[in-house]
């Protein structure tokens, strides 16, 4: 069990009632505690430091403004914040793509946006959350680190102590399972 994540989760749990009571100091503590972790992840998703700073600020403001929608029975405050960050990073990536000709978002995010129509069509038929729930732990970690948090396979391999090729294979197995699930749900005519 990791001490850093435990520490962040404990701090989040302690801050929550204070934030809900509207304690002024709790908001400052919240910003101070979560700025660093979210900046780390933001840097994986967007390339320009100023975009990362804006993104993290926006996420922390959004979080305290919509705290009523957070349900601690469904997960941790940290996980909730990471989810908002990822969601807003994609929104921002779309805006940045329109604004700049050069690539300012990671290639993976850019590819994902290209596939938006297809993804929406597949999600109408396939329960991808169920697929994720059924993935073995190691495959799921690789999927989340690569597809959700934007880590390249080489970094993932180093972090979890496997070769980059193995990391790619885990992702490949997850893709194969997704392909199988899609094939089951779509008939040959695609209707």
């Amino acid at each position: 069990m990791s001490s850093r994540t435990q520490e962040l989760n404990a701090l989040g749990a302690a801050l929550l009632p204070r934030l809900r009571r509207g304690e002024e100091q709790a908001f400052a503590d919240f910003y101070t505690v979560f700025l660093g972790p979210l900046t780390s992840i933001g840097r994986r998703l967007l390339q320009r430091e100023e975009d990362v700073e804006d993104l993290v600020h926006e996420v922390l403001v959004e979080a305290v403004s919509t705290l009523d929608s957070f349900d601690e029975q469904r997960g941790t405050l940290l996980g909730w914040l990471v989810g908002i960050l990822r969601h807003r990073a994609i929104d921002r990536a779309r805006i940045l793509r329109r604004r700049y000709r050069e690539v300012v978002v990671t290639r993976e995010l850019s590819d994902a946006i290209e596939q938006e129509d297809l993804a929406a069509s597949v999600q109408d038929r396939v329960d991808i959350q169920e697929l994720l729930r059924e993935l073995p732990e190691r495959e799921r970690d690789v999927v989340y680190l690569h597809y959700f948090l934007g880590y390249p396979y080489s970094d993932i391999a180093e972090r979890i102590g496997i070769s980059p090729e193995s990391a790619r294979q885990y992702a490949s197995r997850a893709r194969d399972q997704l392909r199988e699930r899609i094939t089951e749900q779509f008939d040959p005519s695609g209707c």
Binding site: E24, S65, G83, S121, R140, Y144
Partner: protein
């Protein structure tokens, strides 16, 4: 704008902190049919990424994954005073502060005693 209009009308919209936005430019009726046999790895990558985005934080096992891979939170960033002030200004403007910080003894006494 949120990525997919469907996410705005499901229970997940509130969970992710999603806000109301214009409808998707690609309603279901206009989507191309999917031929699973021709899906490339890149297309599957895109499908996975966007499915994860739409799920917001309601992602099975995400907390456990973050716990196992704590290095993702490595940056020891501390907010500058300008950043913190900017955040607190927004918090106050939105009326989120209901209880101000208790006064320290020094501040309390300073408020009681007449200034010289």
């Amino acid at each position: 704008m949120a990525l997919n209009a469907r996410s705005l009308v499901t229970k997940r919209a509130a969970w992710t902190g999603g806000t109301a936005a214009a409808p998707s430019k690609t309603p279901a009726a206009r989507r191309s049919p999917v031929d699973p046999s021709s899906l490339t790895d890149e297309e599957l990558d895109g499908i996975l990424m966007l499915a994860l985005d739409e799920a917001g934080t309601d992602i099975p096992g995400l907390d456990d994954c973050l716990t196992r891979n704590e290095q993702v939170f490595a940056a020891p960033a501390q907010p500058s005073s300008a950043q913190l002030e900017g955040f607190m200004r927004v918090v106050e403007q939105r009326g989120l502060v209901k209880q101000e910080r208790p006064l320290t003894w020094r501040e309390y006494l300073g408020a009681l005693l007449p200034s010289r």
